[in-house]
């Protein structure tokens, strides 16, 4: 029988762990951004491209791929900025198109925010509001969540091995 995941206060060695309450605050910030801007859609990803939240009309957009590409785009732009002595915190990249414009913004040092807007939304306003949202998002993850869950799968290494092996076998076709 599976044992429950235990609760404890723990700092993960690296990476990002979001508690349920942080997740709710993040979704509220993104909801406000979507409405106030207004944006067509917004995607928030962890800095290595793993999606945290998506809001708005995404249509047929491949979101998993988009998360990876947005993180890659930010990483490349940061590196370009470093190489050309332009690096500064709170980097903002925008891509202006004939119908829509998209922004990619650092949200603290652990997340990246992507937002797509219609061309009729004033750029200055969009820039102001995405930077404000990015600052708020960074605050949410900069404060330790306090009582958070820890990963204690309570499985022996052998059992974990078997579960992972079986899990991969079950989705694999020779």
């Amino acid at each position: 029988m599976k044992k429950p995941i235990s609760m404890a206060s723990v700092e993960l060695p690296r990476g990002l762990s979001l508690s349920s309450s942080q997740d709710k605050i993040i979704n509220r910030i993104l909801g406000d951004l979507l409405e106030k801007c207004p944006a067509q859609f917004i995607l928030l990803a962890e800095l290595s491209g793993q999606i945290i939240s998506v809001q708005g009309e995404t249509g047929k957009t491949g979101l998993v791929a988009l998360g990876a590409l947005v993180a890659g785009d930010l990483a490349a732009s940061q590196e370009i900025a470093r190489l050309t002595d332009q690096y500064q915190h709170a980097q903002l990249i925008f891509r202006e198109g004939p119908e829509t414009t998209s922004f990619i913004s650092e949200a603290g040092d652990r997340m990246v925010l992507f937002m797509r807007i219609h061309k009729e939304v004033p750029m200055g306003w969009a820039r102001l509001i995405i930077l404000e949202a990015s600052r708020k998002l960074a605050e949410v993850t900069s404060i330790p969540p306090g009582e958070v869950e820890k990963i204690d799968l309570q499985l022996s290494d052998e059992k974990l091995d078997t579960l992972i092996g079986d899990g991969l076998d079950s989705i694999w076709h020779e």
Partner: protein, 197 residues
């Protein structure tokens, strides 16, 4: 690593690293081909006009629940060509584990060594500890004439303790074994680090 407790998702990043043309992209292509479509994303490849990796290849796998958590494994490759060194460093950012894909062709011995040291240097520059980042060695192209054995490549890399697998990735041989090994190593490490923190 990113954990969302609301959704009970454990997101992990695994990077396939190695010298140019050692078979990193081939590994992801085989995984993409052999994994049920409902458990994987599309394969994203950013390639040059010569069909070589420019930035990275990317594929997400979703495993079934383990003790109530759903692991999502994000697989990336790096571009192997020498001129893309800075991009390799960027792709390694936030990696939870690495598969080093070595080319077993004897003539590529030096390329393996150079790529191995390059990887270690980039892990360090990304503040990733060499002692605590799971690394699995895959000795690919075992079907080439005079292919170096796993033990020879471990010796070359001074990695006798590395977990390693012989492979012919183009046929799918050794691809699943490698993937299982790195996934196990990463999840076991996450469990150990967090359970005893």
């Amino acid at each position: 690593m990113y954990i969302n407790w609301q959704l009970r998702e454990l997101n992990l990043k695994i990077v396939y690293y190695g010298p140019a043309s050692s078979g990193k992209t081939t590994n992801l292509e085989q995984i993409h081909r052999r994994v049920d479509a409902s458990h994987r994303s599309d394969l994203v490849s950013l390639k040059t006009y010569e069909d070589r990796t420019l930035f990275f290849d990317f594929l997400q796998l979703e495993l079934g629940k383990i003790s109530g958590l759903t692991p999502k494994i994000h697989l990336y490759t790096v571009p192997g060509q020498v001129r893309y060194e800075e991009i390799r460093k960027l792709v390694l950012r936030g990696a939870d584990g690495v598969v080093f894909v070595a080319d077993s062709t004897p003539l590529r011995a030096n390329d393996n060594i150079i790529a191995w040291h390059d990887m270690k240097s980039h892990l360090r520059s990304n503040n990733l500890s060499l002692d605590h980042t799971p690394i699995v060695l895959q000795c690919n192209k075992q079907d080439t004439l005079g292919a170096m054995a796993l033990v020879e490549i471990k010796y070359l890399l001074h990695g006798q303790d590395l977990l390693g697998f012989p492979a012919i990735a183009v046929n799918g041989e050794g691809v699943l074994d490698t993937l299982k090994a790195i996934t196990r190593s990463v999840i076991t490490k996450v469990q150990h680090e967090t359970a005893y923190a």
